[in-house]
């Protein structure tokens, strides 16, 4: 019995897929082959462990949707359902809406006509154009050329106003800038004066201190000379 054959028979024995005669023969082999018997025991214990996994696996509800269309297959009936019904309903609804619209328009005698002033939509009989004896009012209206002249004049005025406003704004900005520069100049000038005064005062103070220290040093030297002279005269 080669290795492959042993594996195959081991699996048959382990899963009880052997005939009685073959089983007895294999058990005899197992008795004479402790290594094979140990392998069988290991396999059996692994199987026992796998069988201990009694995890409850509960499938949820199944909704089948065909990936290539909107048609779904309901588990309970197994028939194409929601997508097709929806499509049919939508088509029926659109057809009903169109039919209803035409019926209403027909009932209300809808008329659509084109006039010089645009499209005329009427329900019932269209009103006849009013015939009046009033004088032609178009004379009271301005002509196209006059309109363009007015527009040009208006634009020119607007341009002048804009130019004036811009000029004023520019001048204001310039004035503001000058004021700011003047303020800054004054400020820095004052600071400079103050600094100069401080420096002058500091110099004067230093000069005075130096003078006093010079005097003190001189006085000390004189005292020393006097003391030395006194000592020499005593000697």
């Amino acid at each position: 019995m080669d290795k492959k054959d042993a594996q195959s028979r081991l699996m048959d024995y382990l899963y009880d897929e052997m005939g009685p005669a073959e089983r007895r023969e294999f058990e005899e082999i197992l008795r004479n082959d402790p290594g094979l018997k140990q392998e069988l025991d290991d396999m059996q214990s692994t199987r026992n462990l796998l069988q201990e996994d009694n995890t409850e696996i509960k499938p949820g509800n199944l909704l089948l949707i065909k990936p290539d269309s909107e048609t779904s297959v309901d588990e309970s009936s197994g028939t194409p359902k929601r997508g097709k019904i929806f499509t049919l309903t939508a088509i029926a609804a659109i057809a009903a809406a169109i039919l209803l619209t035409f019926s209403v328009f027909s009932f209300m005698n809808l008329q659509v006509s084109q006039t010089d002033n645009g499209t005329l939509i009427t329900f019932g009989t269209a009103p006849a154009p009013q015939q009046t004896n009033e004088p032609d009012q178009t004379e009271a209206y301005i002509t196209k050329a006059e309109f363009y002249d007015m527009m040009d004049e208006l634009q020119e005025r607007n341009s002048q106003v804009m130019a004036t406003a811009l000029q004023q704004t520019r001048e204001q900005h310039q004035q503001q800038m000058e004021d700011v520069i003047q303020t800054l100049t004054t400020y820095y000038s004052q600071r400079r004066q103050q600094d100069l005064v401080l420096v002058s005062e500091g110099l004067a103070q230093l000069e005075e201190q130096t003078y006093y220290k010079f005097l003190q040093t001189e006085q000390t030297i004189e005292d020393l000379i006097f003391a030395l002279n006194v000592q020499q005269s005593n000697d």
Binding site: K4, Q7, S8, L10, M11, D12, Y15, E17, L40, D41, D42, M43, Q44, S45, T46, R47, N48, L49, L50, Q51, E52, D53, N54, T55, I57, P59, G60, L62, L63, L64, I65, K66, P67, V73, E75, S76, S77, G78, T79
Partner: protein, 194 residues
Amino acid sequence: MDNMDEAVLIKQIQNGDSDAYSHLVEKWHGRIYRFAYRFFADEADARDITQKTFIKTYQNVAGLKDPDKFSSWIYRIANNLCLDELKRAGRRKSTSLEAYIEQSGGLEGEETAPDTELQNKELGIIIQKALLMLPDEQRTVIILKEYEGLKFREIADILEEPENTVKSRLYYGLKSTRRVLTNWNIKHEYLNNG
């Protein structure tokens, strides 16, 4: 419902009986979900695979020539969808057994109770983790054999592989599982007692 009834059901579906398909879904829904759940240890993935499996079944059942083979056929669809999902996800959902053992060196860092206090729930999680460590083809065989209780012949039919290949995968799958669990210090009586 035995295979013969199932074959009748399939024929009814092929003849356009939508109620028959509903019965079929009702019958297989749980099994396919369990299979996918064991494969990914993830509810969302399991739901997704279950849904796709039944859509594919619905689309292709008319072309199923041998209704007696429906069981193998639907498991094959589910298994292929699981493998496709792994490929699509760039195998992020699967961890190499060798790499995991090398880098983990046991379950010390993870929240595991001592052997004596090992609860069923924790044991279930550990087993699911251990199965995820296995190569896909070994995991599939273990799930189909241990948890779905199929015969070697049926598994071979599903995977379209020789029976000996299936047995070999199961043999190495069990050995690998034992190796993972031993590496995780699962010295439970289950592993020590034959």
